[in-house]
């Protein structure tokens, strides 16, 4: 057991550190540890010899020629000189493409919802990420049902707006992924048809416990402001 205490110190000594007094004394009296230290030193000697042998190898005489040739043949064209710019250019291009996709996204299929009752029901967001004619999100002929368009998402709140009073920006009302948007639309449609009540919102085939976040979505009626002909005629 005493030898175990010196195992680490023996490796230090083998690697070149001077032996502390305690280790020195132990080595004087312990043949096994002396043998251990000798083995460690032989191991290092073997490693040193192998490394030295490998790293004494000379390259072929052609190496310098190859390097000169490769360097001479390397193309110092502007494209290469500005090669370091490529990551930035690629990132910018990716950003532009992503922006174009977001802005040009087509509207999701809209579930049919009975909107006959003039009650402050949960509403179906009509234009999830979509744009109306001429790039505007304003429907061509805004009906009362259309005026209800909009919703508050669970994670990213949509802005309430007064349809007809302000221009509606051509950007998504609720920033959710397409899959989430579709699920949300279906759920809201089901609620609207009174086939589900909000606390038990869910998707067929999935346990409702997994949809706790969806069930907490706060769907509030939007403020509906009657169209002002004086304002809309000017736009």
């Amino acid at each position: 057991m005493a030898c175990e205490r010196f195992r680490d110190a023996l490796a230090d000594v083998a690697a070149g550190e001077p032996a502390p007094a305690g280790v020195h004394a132990h080595l004087a009296s312990c043949e096994a540890c002396r043998a251990d230290l000798a083995a460690l030193r032989r191991a290092l000697a073997v490693a040193d010899a192998e490394m030295a042998g490998l790293l004494a190898v000379e390259p072929t005489t052609e190496l310098a020629v190859r390097i000169r040739q490769a360097v001479a043949e390397s193309d110092p064209s502007p494209g290469r000189r500005f090669g370091w710019l490529w990551p930035a250019v690629a990132a910018a291009a990716t950003l532009l493409v992503a922006l174009a996709v977001v802005l040009g996204r087509t509207p999701l299929p809209e579930p049919r919802v009975a909107m006959d009752a003039p009650r402050p029901d949960p509403v179906i967001p009509r234009d999830f990420g979509g744009t109306g004619p001429e790039g505007s999100a304003v429907p061509a002929d805004p009906s009362p049902a259309d005026a209800n368009a909009g919703a508050r998402g669970g994670r990213v709140p949509a802005r309430s707006r007064s349809v007809g009073r302000h221009a509606i920006p051509a950007e998504p009302e609720v920033l959710v992924s397409p899959g989430e948007a579709e699920a949300l639309l279906r759920l809201v449609a089901l609620v609207h048809r009174e086939r589900l009540t909000p606390p038990v919102l869910g998707v067929a085939g999935q346990p409702s416990a997994d949809l706790a976040e969806l069930a907490l979505i706060d769907i509030k009626p939007l403020e509906i402001v009657p169209l002002d002909p004086a304002e809309t005629s000017g736009t």
């Binding site: 083998a14 490693a47 190898v57 190496l63 000189r81």
Partner: protein, 177 residues
């Protein structure tokens, strides 16, 4: 070559001066002569592109060592699917009149040492490799790696200790004693 005449001349001096260093650093990782030469060549190509910033000899060599080491590691990782390199190492072994058994034992020993070196953390490994190159003392390794000498000594000690512990069984079992 887009360098001006003065830079060209300096770069040529670096090729003469440091191509063997780049080759050996790559060889320590790859243990394959042709691959190591490819890596050395690639390291010089990259060095040429940045040569305006690397005119100082020490700075150039430090950059070259790091680049060659990194390129060699990348290449090795990319070639893991290829067979282990014992055979390739034998290319560089001195020709001896030894028996088949001795040659096999020697190859085994070399492979185990290579494994032990490869298992070192990269910081310890590069110090070990550079120190094993004949003309490098602690001070020159420190310059090459842009590290304080104390750090190099400390890392070298840790590396040697790890190698001794890892290879102890080898000398105990192989009858090398």
């Amino acid at each position: 070559m887009s360098l001006g005449p003065a830079l060209e001349r300096e770069f040529e001096e670096r090729v003469v001066d440091s191509s063997t260093l780049a080759f050996r650093v790559a060889l320590s990782v790859l243990r394959h002569r042709e691959d190591a030469e490819d890596v050395a060549q690639e390291a010089f190509l990259r060095a040429q592109r940045a040569f305006a910033l690397l005119r100082d000899r020490d700075r150039f060599r430090a950059w070259l060592v790091r680049t060659a080491f990194r390129l060699a590691l990348d290449r090795l990782r990319g070639e893991k699917r290829r067979a282990r390199r014992e055979d390739a190492v034998a290319i560089d072994a001195p020709v001896r009149s030894e028996s088949v058994e001795d040659a096999a034992a020697r190859a085994e020993l070399r492979a185990r040492v290579a494994e032990a070196v490869d298992a070192l953390p990269e910081k310890l490994r590069i110090v070990t490799v550079l120190a094993a190159i004949q003309e490098h003392d602690v001070a020159s390794v420190a310059r090459l790696l842009d590290l304080p000498e104390g750090t190099v000594k400390s890392r070298l000690h840790l590396a040697r200790k790890a190698l001794a512990e890892r290879l102890r069984w080898l000398v105990s079992d192989s009858g090398t004693r």
